[in-house]
Each structure stands twice: as C-alpha cells, then as structure tokens.
Symmetry: C2
Subunit: 392 residues, 2 copies
Amino acid sequence: MSEVPLPLGFCAAGLWAGIKKPGRGFDLGLLAADRAVPAAAMFTQNALVGAHVTVCREQLAASKGLVRAVIVNAGCANCATGERGLDDARETARLVASHLGCAAHEVLPVSTGAIGAHLPMQKIRDAVPGLVDALRGDRAMDFARAIMTTDTHEKLESATFTADAGEARVTGFSKGAGMIHPNLATMLGFLLTDAVLPRDAAGLLRDVVERSYHRVTVDGDTSPNDTVVLMSSDRLSAADGELCEGALIDVAGRLCRQIARDGEGATRLVTVQVRGAIDDAQAARCARTIATSPLVKTAIAGRDPNWGRILSAAGRAGVGIDVARARVWIGETFVFDEGRPFPERETAAAAHLAKEEEVVIGVDLAVGEGGADVWTCDFTADYVRINAEYRT
Amino acid sequence: MSEVPLPLGFCAAGLWAGIKKPGRGFDLGLLAADRAVPAAAMFTQNALVGAHVTVCREQLAASKGLVRAVIVNAGCANCATGERGLDDARETARLVASHLGCAAHEVLPVSTGAIGAHLPMQKIRDAVPGLVDALRGDRAMDFARAIMTTDTHEKLESATFTADAGEARVTGFSKGAGMIHPNLATMLGFLLTDAVLPRDAAGLLRDVVERSYHRVTVDGDTSPNDTVVLMSSDRLSAADGELCEGALIDVAGRLCRQIARDGEGATRLVTVQVRGAIDDAQAARCARTIATSPLVKTAIAGRDPNWGRILSAAGRAGVGIDVARARVWIGETFVFDEGRPFPERETAAAAHLAKEEEVVIGVDLAVGEGGADVWTCDFTADYVRINAEYRT
C-alpha cells in the first residue's frame, strides 16, 4: 500500500518496541501535531474499560480538549490491570510529553491487544525517545502498521475538500478485525484534518461515528478499549462545514469497510441493507441483528443463499415488520417476495455470493420509510481458528 | 441409548416419510394420548413464525387446551411459506385426527428444518396411516429420532416422583443443536406426565421454561419455529405440586444440557455462572451475554483461559458491575480477583479447560445477591462448517 499524505501540521511514526513477539510487526505508534490542537474522543460503552480510557478522559478534561499527540501500543490492552494499569498509562503519556516538550495532559495514551496483562514499561521507556525522533521521517504507514493486532493489512484512508485557504485534507487510521461491534467508538480510529472544524469537535465526532463506526460489526463483541480520536490542526480556515463533515464520514466509512473486509477469517465484505423500517434507528437495529447472526454469516461463507436465516434474524430484531409484505434480496435478486419464497431465483442469488468479493443482502420490512446500511463480513472456520489460538 | 419409558396414557412413534433425503434418518414423529388431555404450549418470540405456530395457536384456542396428539416433522420448517404453508399444517393435523378418530383441532402439527420450503404433502399423506399404526409399538426412541435435524443423538429424559396414586413420571423430548437462544420456547421440547398438574398448565409451563429452556444458548439465533409443549394424561391425582414442578424442571433442564452439549460442532458443555448481580434477571442477562460471545466460546474451544473476554462480555451486558471488586473463575480457579489479574493461576484454569468435558466459567459482579446459570457450548470451526453447508 502506498504512503498516504497527512494533513498539514501532523506527523506520524511507528516502530517495534518488543511488546509483540519478534516478527509480529510494529507495536508502538505516535501521531503528533505541531502544537496542542482541538480534539475530541469517543470511547467504548463497555462497563469494563482499558486503563487508557480512564486516563484519556482525565487528560481531555485537564487539557480542555487540546491534544498534542496520541501514543498507541498494540499487543497489550492494559485492561483489567487495576491501579498499576492506570499508573502505566499515565507514565506512557508523561514519557512522550517530556520528549516532545509539552504538558503531560496533552498526550493521549491508547492500548490494544490481549486483556489482563500489564504493559512492559521498561520496553516503552526504552522505545519512546526513538519514536519521537522518528516523527521527523513523517511515516504515516509506520503508524498504521504499529496499531495492528490481528489485522492482515494497514488501514488508512485520505480525502480532500476545498477550504477558503486551499485544499484541506482528512486522513484516517483504523485497526480492528475482531471484537468489533457498534455502540461505541468501535476498535481504534484516528481522524486528522487540517481544516478548522466547523463546530464543536465532540458533537461533530459523535455525528461522524454514528454514520460510520457505529455501522460496522464483525462478531458482536465490544472491546473495553475501543477509541476514536478526532484532531484538527486548525490550519485552513473557513472550510465549508458540510464538506468537512462529509469528508470525515467518507474517510471513516471507508475505514469501516476495510475493517469489515478484513474481519478475522473473512472472505467477503457484506453490506446489510434494511429498508422500509419504522425509522432509521429501527433499520439500523435490524441491520445489526442480521449482521451479527452467526447463521447468516456462516451461510454466506458457504455461498448458500439461505434467505430464511436473513428473514428470521430480522424477525427477532425486535423491530416492526410485516412478514406478509416483507421482501428479502441477495444481490439484485428478490428471493422472498409477496410473503412467499421463489426457489427458482436462488440460482441467481447463489451466483452473486459465489462471484462477488462484496456481497449485498437486504430486507424490506414493509412498515415505513426508515433505512440503514451496516457493514460486516462472512463467518468462516478461520475466524474460530484465529480466536481459539489468539494467545498461544 | 436405551428406551425411556413414557408416562401412563401416552404412546409414541416415528418413521422415515421421505421429507429428509434417504439415509438422513427418521423425519416424522407422533406423540399421542389415549384421549384429549390438558396441555399448554409456548412458542418462539420471533416476529417471523413457522406456519405451525399460527396453526397450533388456533388449535389450542379451539380445543380449550385439550390435546390428543402432536405430529412433528423434521427436514422442513414450513416457515415463510405463506397461506399454502398454513393450509399444509392444517391438513397435516386433519390427517392425523382422521386416523386417530378425534377432532382436527385436538392435533398439534409441529415442523423443524430449513426455512422457506413447502411441506411435501403427498409424502405426509402417504406416511400418516403407517405412523398412527406404529403407535401400537410405543416407540419413544423412534419419536426422539424423528424430530432430529443437526442433532447428533436423540434427546430424551425421564424422572419419577411420588403421587397419591403411586409413582408418577415425567418424560421429555427435545431436539436442537443450532439456532438456539432463550427468550422463547427454545427449539422443540415435549414434556409429558401422567400426574394431574398441580395448577394451570400454561402458567406451570411458563415457570418450567423460565428455569430451563430460557437458560440455554448455542448461537444466539432464535428460530421462528421454537415450540415447547406440556401434556398431562391426568392419570395420577394429588401429586405434590412442588414434586411435580421439580420433576418437570429436572427433566427439562437435563434436556437443555443435552442440547448445549450437542451444540453444533461443540466439544464442551459450558455452564456460565453469574453471581453477585443486582437481581436474578440481571444475572441471567449477563450470563446469556457471556454465553453468546463468539470470543469467549472460541477461547474455550482453544482451551485458552482467556478470562479477559469473559469479563469484557460481562462489561457489555448492560448490567450493574463493580469491576474493582468483580471476580472471574474458570473451574475452581479465580483468575481475576480484587480488581486485578493473577497470571500465575492460569495454568490451573487451562488444565480445567483441557481435561473436563464439562466446563464451568463464572463472574461475580459484586453489586448484589442475584444469580443465574446458563448452559452453552464452545464454538469450533465445525460449527461454521455445519452451518455453511447445511442446505447442500
């Protein structure tokens, strides 16, 4: 994957600090602005939270939402690690701050990896000076690499839009391939822009996440460490607010599709379309239920146009549905229509599943005008293998 | 498996009618009482329901809860089949009634299998006379066999208790190994007793199901056809009410454990214990969330004492939890305690997972006195294979 440019005023770095086993790739990454800049973050809704979630909330309160840098480690979630875990996260932020020459509360520490182990602090102490030095190389790809766990590739996306002062840019990074489910800032996401944000960063981030990270699911499991951070270097003023928000949603949405496509063991990116719901919220709920159903996802893995499982999942979503008028489609083919099956159409549906890397399935609930798309992936025996052997 | 006795006043039969492919086993079963007897049924809470659910509700209303027989087919769910599906279910009941010499509304038709195909009615018409004849052989095991789909073995259990008029019996049958989740009369279950029921059959069944079928989950998917039927032949009066309810819960609970143990692809029966919840309902909700987590279940498949996933699933269950005082155990070993991990204890926990066919995992939420157990199974690559290839 080619290098992706960063917005003005940001630089990035990544390296191997020895947190992961040798040969497993980079494990420590740094994103930095040239000064403390406006930022917002959203975190998991799990009652169990990684130490960094607690510490980031403290930092953002102390800094009043101004952030100089984000340091991310992979290979250790620093979660369920008690007081010592909090101390370790705080020390990590202080280490970076002392080398960048900024206030400790202007650095957000973020962790991802297995739950229940302590951060190897000596390795982090040893690595931070080199990591800060490496910012001069401005290596976005190294950062993208350093935040990966079971991801099979780096996830970064970029878009530009017109601001008064020239062309503004949004660049985003994500990691995540399992333990991914909406209703939180799912997995890790970092969205950077050089445009002055058109409104309050926290409110803007909420709306962006609702249209992106809340619409992707791999396995329905919600990590205690999920975090999305938005930072603006405030360089290019008077960008059109809608253009800016649109670019953020575009980049975040593309990252989410990458996450679903890279779901652990996945062979198919699946877009679940729900239409005809009472409202958009019910549509999203129904789409998430379908997108989380192991039976639907294993059927897609088996290239089986088993629309009965799709309709059944919609039926148990707890949303309004008129089964007698509902429709189910796979690709372009209506396999259930007018309240009855059309077995003769299943060949076309099976062909869609067999040929396409990107699969579309959908349900019309036939009770209203609400709609939503959710991205997920198929569910293969490899998902089980990856997760049965994750710590071994 | 040895033949299990039926309560007085019931007989059973099963045969191959050609609904399943040849060599896949019996597919049509019949349970009959010697006259119309008090009965109750509970059905799926899915908004999509199999045709038999609608027809059974009609029958029970028309018969005022008196049932002579239950006919069950496997291999075709007769679900999402429109008006024709309803007509087929009604015809099936009429066929049995005409051969038994009872009213059509005294027969409950029940279907299980793949969604979206019509019942092969000519095969059922051809088979019913022989099936009714076979009742004379009183073959409980044949009935148990005839209701199987992906089950690897028949599921029947029996218990006795003392009534005034002698020894009373409860015998139960179940099928189900996938698409199993609580909040409905999960999968198929048939509970028969010769004791006079101590109270209203519907209320009694609700309480029995709450303590049994609502506590088992294989994959979190809720079938549109799930049905549990309770019938009493009313032979033995003045049974102790608590003894009778206890025997029903005992038999139903043993059937549920069989279902979890026989979960598609499963190698382990898993009991999820939640303690210290605000109330029993929150405990059950939390236990179900843990029992449905693909990450927890794949870890058990991999014999990995990955308690972080257990705690994380508890954290996202939406129930009260005090993480700083919570505890997690695997077998007899507290792997998370006093708000922190004990890595040195994981060897003992791993040994429990490696050695035992029956695994216990638990969480103390540390906020109250509520508790619940939920049964599930581990999640292996074979589950995916079975469900990817189900219809092929």
